[in-house]
Symmetry: C2
């Protein structure tokens, strides 16, 4: 059975296909101090034959440490033109070379990136004290076919979704959840 | 002393003043199940003579219950035109009539809202089972001068900020924190 929120999300993406910012989503995780953490990440598509969302991440970044300690996330995805919001919650896991099955996917995503994005994985460790200008600008362009060690994928498995459509009158709000018998959908007050 | 992130944020808001969506921010909290929660809210300005952010909230909403149990939040605020991101973390508290000092502020914000927003506070309890269409569309327009009981303000006190400017080359990233002697600012690798 097709995942119900995926059908709607594909339509939202189609309606915004000329807007690169429609792939910017806000990823909330649990900070190492127990407080919520929240930042913008770029949606890089779905894992083939799956509804897992793909996001690229630097192995040295704070969010990697957070996910390693607590895998729970909630993505907030707002589409301005259609006034739709998706809250997608679930568990995340990171992919590196040691996962043979997914190593090919990691390489595919690496190849699909722009040089300007790939080069960032060769920069000094993110979030640590500023090193110097040269370390950031004169790094060599990395090989486009072989991912750098710091390059990881986050696979985000969605276990529940809260969908809001503000163009509907009254607004439509649905809460979806995956269980043993598949997805259930409940309409709730907006 | 002026709050350093506030100066930059005011400039970002000015650069986007013709874009209503620039006031949509993503508010992450700690869900009642311990997982992160994340949704879009509208920034309603700053508390006068303060850097506290104001957000309106329904007293019956899930985020109110979350804030009551754990006041920590992180807002993610992305500005598309200037490619800036603010991550603003701190503690939230809600305001109702019983707080005399702030009741006036609550009324002022209520008055500034559109009817279409005010009426939502007269709708059935958000996030509970869908009641019916009429309960949502034929609610009477509430009095514009007296806030409904369900109407609350959230005051978000920022204790730390992570600022990213992606138009700078290399990107500029600064981490700011409030301490006993005021704000400190550290430049970090992007």
């Amino acid at each position: 059975m097709t995942t119900p929120w995926r059908l709607t999300l594909d339509a939202s993406l189609l309606a915004h296909r000329d807007d690169p910012m429609c792939r910017y989503v806000q990823l909330a995780t649990l900070g190492l101090d127990g407080r919520p953490a929240n930042r913008t990440v770029v949606f890089r598509g779905f894992r083939p034959d799956s509804d897992d969302l793909i996001v690229t991440v630097d192995a040295r970044s704070q969010k990697m440490a957070e996910i390693a300690r607590s895998p729970f996330f909630e993505i907030c995805w707002y589409f301005g033109r259609t006034r739709e919001q998706y809250r997608l919650g679930g568990t995340a896991r990171s992919i590196n070379d040691s996962d043979r099955f997914l190593a090919g996917l990691r390489t595919d995503v690496w190849r699909s990136l722009a040089d300007a994005v790939r080069i960032q994985f060769d920069w000094p460790s993110p979030g640590t004290d500023w090193q110097n200008h040269d370390a950031h600008v004169s790094a060599e362009i990395p090989d486009s076919s072989t991912p750098l060690t710091s390059f990881r994928l986050l696979l985000l498995t969605v276990e529940r979704a809260d969908y809001l459509n503000l163009l509907a009158d009254p607004p439509l709000r649905q809460q979806l959840e995956i269980g043993q018998d598949g997805w259930t959908c409940r309409r709730v007050n907006p």
